[in-house]
Symmetry: C2
Subunit: 575 residues, 2 copies
């Protein structure tokens, strides 16, 4: 009987010493549990994605030194697989990148074997070809008479039977199968997106069955800038059954057993999954129940906020409460993430604000239990008008004046952030960010854009879910906030649909355009009005300059604005 | 005798039709000049870098259709090499990226041959592995009995004898030499940085001599967001002599002759280089005279502003004039780039502004001939103070209050930008951006950060150069602006050196840290105070959240903040 422990860790990028301690703690527990092998996530020693920290030779040297130290500190008998970077000694002579993305097997105080990642993702948020040379060899080692194949994240994502296409020339698990491995382990840092857990398990289930090899999948958990790693590690036996599922959106630990007689993995029930995944709003019972998409997205956003706030060294957050649905949703997420006592909502009504806006925001704050400040901006608007009166003489009220209001609010919020050390959360949704229905240096201000990958229609559905029995079971978001017509309230009587198509129409067009890469012709063929589609495409194209200066936004879709969205600004607006 | 034309074009990214016309116009001139072959830059049909436009199938289809149309429109006998993307038909079956970065030989109304780029840069601002599959074959074609090798940009950057190291396994020019080509042409989109022209010519001179092959190098010119392409195309004979040099920072055209008897390239003198490069502040005479670095940087920044303003559809610019050196320099660059009549300087003095600040700014505006507006911000400061009085009760004046001033100015400038359609230029330098000595949503506001890759010490030297006989030969930047102690003037008596090391010290530390990747230990060993170095490293690390939301900044160094700088925000602050 061989025992394999999975440490679903939450490393902090660059915190080599702290991450080393996380691994060491997990190793001590593993030793107590009589595990033979401890598996940690991809780049567990340095955090993923380390990005351009990898260009700093002193960082690489520090990681190398800490790895040696860790090897000596670990329980000697336990085999531990640590993810880190390893220099490519041949780079100068043979060409190629100067680092490998590696899994290092530590045992008895030393580095026993080193395995290099073979398939390097270079798409969406991934830039691995920028830093890493692909490994050329099949990676495996032995414990007793068991041969264990080692793969790193993308190495298992080239199952051309599952995808219907090949993404890379090689397929590491197919190669390992030829070597007759008994088991494949995978160190991952696989970002969350809606439904991603089910994709991972279905894909690896297909591979386990196809090759008749059990698979242990150890994913990183953590919020790292715009990317949320959900964890959701799991194990499959050679029939492709899920025999262990770890928590989503929190650290977790589990021990599995490999039964030498059955030549297969069996679950030990030692994981914390049942408890912890219920905390995150899920039941697992050895399968991922994607409840409503809303519950999953809610859990992701709450975790993304909580971890970003912590890793950036904040404890409190501030946001503007307009009485609208976006700020209400963000306030609710923040309250759940860091506690309502750490959230400050600021109401900044203007003469154009309707009475219900202030009342709705006050009711929201009461429901959530967060503190509020009321800072009317009428005087500031008048003072800006006076300051600009000569220059703006004989011009008419327009975008400039609307934006001044938004920027006054942005300034007040940043003043509070600077004065009291609160992280400012911005509240724009993906629909607005797409078409530029937002003010740069105004409502876009913030250290984190909590829902900038959440379409407006999803914002509504999240709020409804939150109020439902599946959510909090009581009215957290005042019903009036959900039912009233959305408005920026930057001029009298304004509603969003003066400028934009209805949100269900807009969101469908945007999803086709952005996530599905459909052309104007294809979107029109799907039933949308051609003029509306062209308007939306034009607005998306023209808004690039705003998005370039946006705060990092939590990614929940397969194509979010942020590090995975790389568009030129100065370009032809249509073709 | 074979004649080869070089069209140093300035394509607009995504403007397939417009770019096609640029190629067509150059082809018509080439035909008049009796050229046999026309060479255009890398991706000349779609512009470089197209970035995620390449993920849009309808864009790829449109480029393919336009290429066919162009083939039919071109003078039939002329061979034209166009840069564009070509689908990788094998990707689904064999794996790999779905596109090639290609050079397409058009002649007699059709595509005659297609050549794929073999070495794909994936570092700094380059992301080519994200989109492209590397070509596997040596690329050449024949005109008469002459064999012409085709390379694309990076293909010629792996001369391991020149660099002392190999960056890629293969070396396309070495392979072409084995095939006995008579000439190598190169389609490039090589970004500008200080001294880059000399590096290119020295490297290719080494290759020409090493392999005994003349080289024609056609580089793109243009300002594309943060990246400036300088053009500076050139040709070398087989002895490595520069026989033709095209203009820097403007479009250009030249015709070269290949002498069949000499089996070498000879210059025809038909280029426009002599005239045009003098306009840009250079004399060429078949070599790059790097005058002072200042003249070269000045020309780059002027061109970068001019082209960004044009490609984004603006004609006028606005900026804040503080009376300090940074805004003075940016005002001078903008005046040169788009004409002083299109530049508006806004003076926004506060009660903390010294008298000389306003006077210095007024004198600057007179020297440059730009319009000014005076918008004192004292009333707005008081109104913010009043609005925040209750909330800020019993707190002391600090960063929050300083930033309010900067943000008031940022708001006023954006109001003017929004009202009149001026592009707002931000004026922060690289030293400030490095250590975060700047206000997010305040002085960082703008559509383009003109000098955000220019260290403060270089800003001084540029201003001195501008006033000198080598520059404008008269006092453009008032001497008092250059000689007074730099100050943000956000509180009484404040100077920059209250918070920062002297700029010559700071800039040296920053250059070592950022451009040379030196460790703290190495920088201290170079003679800097350990406490100062540690402070600077800490400030640089902590300011990442500001830079993430900065405007695109013109890149003039080998490591600029912007698309080539990819740092995590949430990370350990030291290691």
């Amino acid at each position: 009987m061989m025992k394999i422990a999975i440490a679903q860790l939450n490393p902090t990028i660059g915190d080599i010493f702290g991450n080393s301690n996380l691994i060491l703690e997990a190793a001590k527990i593993s030793a107590v549990e009589d595990a033979n092998l401890l598996l940690t996530p991809e780049l567990s020693l340095i955090g993923y994605p380390p990005r351009d920290l990898l260009l700093d030779p002193s960082f690489i040297a520090a990681a190398g030194a800490q790895l040696q130290q860790l090897a000596q500190d670990l329980p000697p008998e336990l085999a531990v697989i640590v993810g880190t970077v390893v220099p490519n000694a041949d780079a100068v002579k043979l060409g190629g990148q100067s680092l490998f993305n590696s899994a290092v097997l530590l045992q008895n105080g030393a580095v026993k074997q080193v395995f290099h990642k073979r398939l390097l993702p270079t798409y969406d948020v991934f830039d691995e070809d920028r830093y890493f040379e692909p490994g050329k060899n099949s990676n495996y080692f032995t414990i007793g008479d068991r041969k264990i194949g080692v793969t790193i994240c993308e190495d298992l994502w080239n199952n051309e039977e599952f995808w219907g296409k090949r993404s890379y020339a090689g397929d590491p698990i197919a190669d390992l199968a030829k070597f007759g491995v008994d088991l494949v382990v995978n160190l991952s840092a696989s970002p969350y997106s809606v439904g991603k857990r089910e994709v991972r398990s279905a894909m690896l289930q297909h591979s386990a069955i196809r090759f008749g090899i059990p698979i242990v999948y150890a994913n990183q958990v953590g919020g790292n800038d715009d990317i949320i790693f959900d964890g959701s590690s799991f194990a499959l036996n050679r029939q492709g059954d899920l025999i262990q599922v770890l928590a989503s959106f929190e650290t977790d630990f589990a021990v599995l057993e490999y039964d030498a007689n059955k030549q297969d993995l069996i679950g030990s029930g030692k994981g914390q999954d049942a408890r912890s995944t219920q905390d995150a709003g899920f039941t697992t019972n050895l399968s991922f129940h994607p409840p409503l998409g809303d519950a999953e997205i809610w859990a992701a956003l709450v975790f993304g906020v909580r971890d970003y706030v912590r890793k950036c060294g904040f404890s409190k957050a501030v946001l503007g409460l307009s009485g609208g649905i976006d700020s209400a949703l963000v306030a609710a997420i923040a309250s759940c993430a860091i506690g309502p006592e750490n959230v400050l909502g600021v109401l900044m009504p203007s003469p154009y604000s309707s009475d219900h806006s202030v009342n709705d925001a006050l009711e929201l704050a009461r429901n959530l239990g967060i503190a509020i400040e009321l800072l009317p901006i009428g005087d500031l608007m008048k003072t800006y008008d006076r300051t600009l009166a000569d220059l703006f003489l004989n011009t008419t009220f327009g975008i400039a004046e609307e934006n001044i209001q938004s920027r006054i609010r942005g300034n007040l919020l940043m003043a509070i952030s600077n004065k009291f050390g609160h992280l400012l959360l911005s509240t724009g949704n993906k629909s607005e960010m797409s078409v530029g229905y937002c003010t740069l240096y105004g409502d876009m201000n913030g250290g984190l854009a909590v829902i900038s990958d959440v379409p407006k229609t999803r914002a509504y559905s999240l709020c409804r879910w939150l109020n439902s029995d599946s959510g909090m079971g009581k009215e957290m978001i005042p019903v009036n906030i959900i039912s009233k017509a959305p408005s920026a309230e930057l001029k009298p009587g304004q509603i969003d649909q003066d400028s934009l198509p209805a949100y269900d129409v807009l969101d469908d067009i945007l999803q086709r355009l952005i996530e599905h890469h459909e052309s104007v012709q294809e979107i029109v063929a799907a039933g949308h009005d051609a003029a509306v589609v062209k308007l939306v495409v034009k607005l998306v194209t023209q808004s690039e300059f705003k998005r370039r200066q946006a705060a990092p936004g939590l990614k929940i879709s397969d194509r979010a604005f942020g590090t995975g969205w790389r568009m030129p600004i100065a370009k032809a607006s249509s073709y």
